[in-house]
Each structure stands twice: as C-alpha cells, then as structure tokens.
Amino acid sequence: MSYVKRFSTFLFLSLLILFLSSSAIAEQLTVDEIIDKMKENQVEYVNSKTQAEMEIIDKNGKSESREMIMYQKEEDDKISILMRFLSPKNVEGVTLLSSESGDKIYLYMPAYQKPRRIAGSSKKDSFMGTDFSYEDLGMDYQSDEYLKELKEETETQFLIEVLPVGEDISYSKFMLSVRKELFYMEKVEFYNLEGQHTKTLEIQEIEIDKNNKITPVKIEITDVENNHKTILNIKNIEYELSLPADFFSLRTMQKPKL
C-alpha cells in the first residue's frame, strides 16, 4: 500500500470516527442538556418590554388586529407580566397583571375604573378573545418543576414531553418540538386534562443577534378545536429596563400611561 493510499485511508477513518463520535454525542444529549442548550441560546434578562401586534383570526378567516405592550419580569423562578392593549379603541387601555407565574391575575378595564381580580382557578379562560389563556401568558415550559422526557429524535427536531406534575394548571401535557440546529422551541402542543390536543403554539420566525441569542418574533397559537388562531408579531423588544421595584403592581396597572 502506497504512502498516499495509507494516508487517505487514515484520513477517511479519522473523519468517520469524528463523524460517528459527534453523532453519538448528539444522540447522547439528555433532555436536561437539551433544555440547558435552549436556555443558553435565549437572551438572559431580568425584565423586558415587548411591543407587538396581535392578529386574531376566526375559522372563516376574518381577522382583528390589536396593538399591545407587555412588560415581563422573572424573579425567583416566578414570572410577572403587565400587558396593555393600545388599540383598537374597543380594547384600548385594557390591562392585565399576572404575578407569581399566574397565581395572581387582575384585569383593569378603563370603563370599570377598578382592577378586577380573576380567580387563580379561572386561569384557563381565554384572555380578551385571544387564543391565549391567562395561564398561557405566565407559563414557563422549561421550568425545572416540570417533568421532561425526550420522546423522539428526528433529523431536525427533538420531541420532548413535558408533564406539569404537581402544578395547578389546566393542561396534562405539553409536547415540545425543539429545532436541533439552533436549539430553540419551534412548536408546543397543549393537551387538556382529558388528554386531548387542544392548542398549538408555533414560533414561525426568529431573530438571532450578534451573540447568537435567539428571539422569537412571530408566534402563532391555534385553538385546534375551533380552528381559531392568534398571531403575535413582535415589533420591538428591550431588555434590562430600569423599572421601579413595585412596577408589576395594581398601582401601575391603573396608570394612564405605562
């Protein structure tokens, strides 16, 4: 065997070993490692401000647009959200406050002039005609409190089953589709307590910043039973704002301007 041939064989074997070993590494990823990689690719922040346009589409294709602004904070594994509709006029000023990951929910309607508490157990109700429920807005599928299992691995996706064990929510299961290439959640299927697939959330567009951090910019949530959907087009996100300590409060939600 000539030197060149031997060298070529060595190179081929080396590449094959390298390839196989890298595949083996990918296959060996545990569900926690996948989640960790997803978290690594997300922008880390304490709080954020999102401006978005919401489109609500019924089964006949008739749509309604709304503009909204949303502040979000994560502290001690608890998510707080303050969200206000800016348009159209029939919902302008309607404000939602969800604190302690949805355990405390208030709705402020300018015409009513007083925040209305929504019982924690009403969290499954639709929020202002959208396909998001109150609890959807404050949920964290990556939470360590949920049981996760890698159910399937395709060429492009990891399929992870998430069970909200011990959590007081109105879903029995979530199926997460994680895009392998970029380690971000492309799709979530929601299953009700009877085990039926009721909703699907899809991240249809993302932005990747210079630090390779991923931000979803177009999110679609579909009510599978009623063929009704809500599309969220994110216009702008700001991170790490200087917000007062009591920003996520009943006091703030009644302010005419956030």
Binding site: D58, K59, N60, K62, E64, P88, K89, N90, E92, E100, D103, K104, A111, Y112, Q113, K114, R116, R117, I118, A119, G120, S121, S122, K124, D125, S126, G129, N226, N227, H228, D246, S249, L250, R251, K255, P256, K257
Partner: protein, 419 residues
Amino acid sequence: MPEKNKNVCFIGVLLLLILLLIIFSQPIWAMDTTQKIIYNSSYSLDNQKIDHTVTFKIDYLQEIINDIYLQGDLIIRATNKNYADPLIMGPNELYLNAYNIIENLDLRAGIIVTRWGAADFFSPLDNFNPSPPNLSLTSNTEKLGAMGINATYYLNDSTNLQAVLLPALKATPFPDQYLKDTYLAQYGPFYQKQGITISGVELSYQQPEELIWGLELNHTFPSFDIGLSYYHGYYTDPFPVNLDIAFNPAGNIMDLTLGYPAKQVWGLEFQGDFPGIEGATLRGDLAYIIPEKWSFQGVNILEKPYLKAVVSADYTTPSDIYLNGGFIYGLPFENQGQCSPYLYLHADKKLTNSNFTPQYTCVLSLKDMSMGNVLGLDYQISENVLASFSYVFVLGDTDSRLGILKPSEGFYFSLEWLF
C-alpha cells in the same frame, strides 16, 4: 319642552356632533382623545312611546409633566325622554391625576368618580357618586362625577390606604318635574279624600352642609383581596322633610321640602378564589349602615342601623358561557326595613366564529317572586362599532318588589361607535 322645540334641539345637537367630529378628526390635538357616539332608542310598552337619545363623549388624557395627568371627558347628550333635560353638555369627570406626588402617594383631584366595592352590581359600599336616576338592567350604570380628592397611600406592594374627601354632596339628579309628579301621585289622592284638590307642587331642598369623607384599607392575600371601609356622608336620593299646603284661590299648592339624611357605612369587600368551585371568582360587599334618624309626618323612615349585602360569583363554563350570579340583600332604592333578598343572574356567550353575543340578565325577588328580565343580543359590526338589542320584561304585579321596573318594559336598541 314642546315637541317641536325638542326636535329643533335634536337637529341642532346632531349638527354640533358633526362639527365636533370634523374638529377632532384633525391631528392638531396634543392630548390623547377617544371619541364615542352612542345612539339609544327604546320603545316603552307602558306608554307606547319611542325615545331617542344621542350621546357624544370625548375622553381625554394629557401628561402635563412626568406622572401628572389631566384627565376628563366631555359629554353632549340630546334626548326626547320624559323627565330628562333635552340637552346636557359638560364634563362628567375632570381631574388632575398625580402619581408619587409624595413617595408612595397617588392623588386625584377635581371632578372624580370613586368606586368602592367588589360587586359588579348594586354595591352598597359605592356611596360617593350617585348613579343616573333610573334603575337599569340593560347597561352598566355610569356613575356621576363629584368634586373631590382621592388619595391612595401604598404601605407596601400588598396594602394600601385610600382616603376620599368631597366638599359637598353630589345628589342623584332627579328632574324636579319627575319628583313633583311622583309626590303629587303619592299624596294628591290623600288630600283629595279630605276635599282638598292639589293643583301643583313646589319643591325646596335642605342641602347637607358637612364634608363627605371615607377611608378604605385594602390588602391582597395570595388567594383573595379584602377591603375594610368607612363612609361618612349622606344618602344621595332625596327624602321628604316637610309638607305644607298653600291654599290659593287659583289652586292649592303642595310645598314639599326634601333633604338628604346623613349616613355612616362600615364596609367589608372581598374578591378571590371561590372555595370548592374550580374556576369561579367570588366577590362580595357587606355594608352596615347607620342612618341619621329621619321622620316625616310622624313616621320614622330611618331609625336603626341595617345591613345590605351583595355576594356574587362569576364563572366561565367549559363551553365558554360566562355566568355571573349572586345574592343581593337590599337594592339601591331600598333602605332599612324595606331591604329584602334577591337573586340575580347574568349569562352571555360570544358565539364561536361569529360576531353575535346573546345574553340574559334577571333579578328575582325572594320575597314575592317578582322578576325583572332582560333578553339581549350584541352584534359587533366592526372593531369599533357595536349594536345591541334587548327586550325587558317584568313578571309580577305593579306593586311587587320589582314592579318598579314595570315602566322599563319594552324594547331597547343601541349603536355605539368608538373612534
């Protein structure tokens, strides 16, 4: 007002509305405004008359400096209803709204509306601002603004103390003619039996002189909110003080003096999880009312402290029907011994993939089983245009507890345009 003049007035207001519409469509205004035009019509089965009302409302908001706002509205309303001013023009609210004026203190001053109580309907704790002078089951009653100051001090994230001060009572604006006709119908037959024919009524008022004030302490617990309140003020509806007959050859006149009894209200309000019923929110207001002793013609109308309460729950069923029902002890027009128990229910459902929302509201007297009912249908014509149709009917005699709603029986239509 003669019918012809009312029509001229109505056309004038419509022209004014069009002019305002043109003005406010220009982008020259620095302040944020929202305009609303509402057309209401009703057909009364009682007097077989069609009423029309057109309301133009502008809400405005301007940030003067950081966290200090000028807020208010302007209402122009024209109507051909009996016992109503054919034309009303002015603000219902106009106030400065200042946040953190002193650390943790927010202040509203001017013509304000202060809402106390967690109940959705007929809260006995909501005493600072009167409602318009008719009991309505067809719409959420708007409160009438009153001059005053409302200060809220936030002790921490969960607790706040609210203080309200009004320099003078804002009374329920019953039209004089309505009161004259009502009292004439009430006392005229009594004097007629004595051979005295009353040909007219003269009204005079004793105005309350003391300041009206209240304090409310609110606290948020993990699964419910609670508020303890104290109100020191007056009844907003007039009570008779004195009645004299002025005998005149031209016709005898009933001179009636009306006044507003003082009252104190100790209150408890709460809202939160309904224990044992998954998905329901419990709301309640309990009021312990201490009235000023008030007698008229030797009869004690108000004497002893009494209770009023509203306890309700709202719940959305798995098929998206919104239900709001509860128990009421004492409707707004009932005081002391008149207070009686009622049940109420409101149900609505936005039809899936449709712009229609059928709804039903009823109040049932547990004392005499009389019942007020509203069957309604909302149609969202476009994002900012809503049409509503409803039919009001009452089960029970005219002199039953809810017989007071008999004159309201009929058909109602409204068209609301926001822009």
